[in-house]
Symmetry: C2
Subunit: 271 residues, 2 copies
């Protein structure tokens, strides 16, 4: 019989990621608050139920910190399964401080494994996964991660650093998008169309992942008519960055500028 | 006999670019204010002299707008050669408005052909060249550009757009460097070393040309001990962006932030 993996959160990312697990031969025992999202998995009644029925690995990839805490410690959360022989892998993007607190509170091993690559990377199984946790736990969960990601990078021996690097990635991404939007505005003023600029920048020193993947992520660029899902995620992550910055008294003016710009786009779109 | 190309400005970029022309079989009739830089070319006495002795194409790649104006219109500038059968190619980065004014004032065809790729690209002949000018003039100079660059992108049918796109590139580049520096600061606060973060970002959505070319451009990153040449160039270009923004009343907060950050680094280094 194939190994059963518990999987909490079958949304935009979790949906395709759980399908990759199935394609690799795992049984997915999944839970989502939206029953319609559980059609392709062995449906669990709760996170606790998924944790009870999992062989060893339980993944959580819900949207927010609050949801993550409910999944782990709520009345029917993973903790309520009463097991200490499971590895719980947090693949949501939260902040490193919260990640450490969660790991400290849990009575089972918790790992940090946020991802980069978006929905397309999830569908194609080409995600970059930045995993942090005790070495033996990383070894145990690695085959499961390899079914979902192309690059599995071990970034620390305790939970937290994965989140820190993921937030760093989101900061770098958001600021470079803001900069490129401003570059397009500058060139437009001189009569050069955005498509023309992006074509040149793609083969120049001003290039970046969002420029090279413009067609697949154009929703991020068109702030007049934004891709609500993508914009919502980056706003949430910029919020975590702001929180982390203010907790550690770090001055992060570029992140603040990006947050302000994207919040305005969100408000302008009436969201 | 091989075609003679006039070449004004044999510095950090012009030096290796003129060598690429020689390797492609051109004779370079060059001028630089520093005589030591003319050792590898047929030395001219002035820009006017280089323009007189050139067969058709004259390149100018000096540092600033002011120097460009002297090269073209000074007492011993290209104009003083009295020829209207030359194509003058401005490969320096200036601003699009000044580029248009220069072309308007000249009595010979002027083309816009700024480059991206830095000193290493110049040495390897792998520059991206964004050329703008009358179609027939672009056709005439194309073989010369192809000896210096890998990607020759025609971006307009009159001078100006090349500069606009180049400044857009510099804006995108400078802002993404600033964002990534901030990302490194954030991760460092959580105990993750910069090298670790850059390794992950290189294969994630926060990636960019400067991250992927970190080893060759690390001088840009170490603002405590900056690469004076590289920092000076980006500061000059951000100054042109600021000028263009204020002339056209464009709000460019990300460019302003980058300029402020890099000016502070310049001042802190005692430059």
């Amino acid at each position: 019989m194939s190994e059963s993996v518990g999987f909490i959160g079958l949304g935009e990312m979790g949906g395709p990621m759980s399908r990759r697990l199935q394609q690799a031969g795992y049984t997915v025992t999944g839970f989502d608050v939206d029953p319609g999202r559980m059609a392709h998995v062995e449906a669990a009644a709760s996170p606790a139920d998924a944790a009870k029925r999992a062989d060893r690995v339980v993944i959580s990839i819900v949207r927010t910190l609050q949801q993550t805490e409910i999944v782990l410690f709520g009345g029917s959360g993973i903790s309520a399964a009463g097991r200490d022989d499971i590895d719980v892998v947090i693949m949501s993007t939260i902040d490193p401080g919260s990640m450490e607190r969660i790991a400290h509170r849990a009575h089972f091993p918790v790992l940090d494994a946020p991802v980069s690559g978006g929905v397309l990377g999830a569908e194609a199984g080409t995600l970059t996964i930045m995993v942090a946790g005790a070495a033996e736990a990383v070894t145990r969960i690695r085959p499961v991660l390899e079914a979902m990601g192309e690059k599995i990078l071990v970034v620390g021996d305790h939970p937290g650093p994965g989140q820190a690097i993921k937030l760093a990635n989101q900061l770098s991404l958001a600021v470079s998008v803001i900069g490129t939007l401003e570059a397009l505005k500058l060139a437009k003023q001189a009569g050069v169309a955005p498509e023309e600029v992006l074509k040149v920048l793609a083969v120049s020193t001003g290039s970046s992942w969002p420029i090279l993947n413009y067609e697949t992520v154009r929703g991020w660029w068109e702030l007049e008519d934004p891709d609500v899902g993508a914009l919502g995620i980056i706003l949430k992550d910029l919020g975590s960055i702001e929180k982390m910055g203010s907790e550690s008294r770090l001055d992060l003016p570029a992140a603040e500028l990006a947050l302000e710009r994207l919040r305005n786009a969100w408000a302008d779109a009436g969201l």
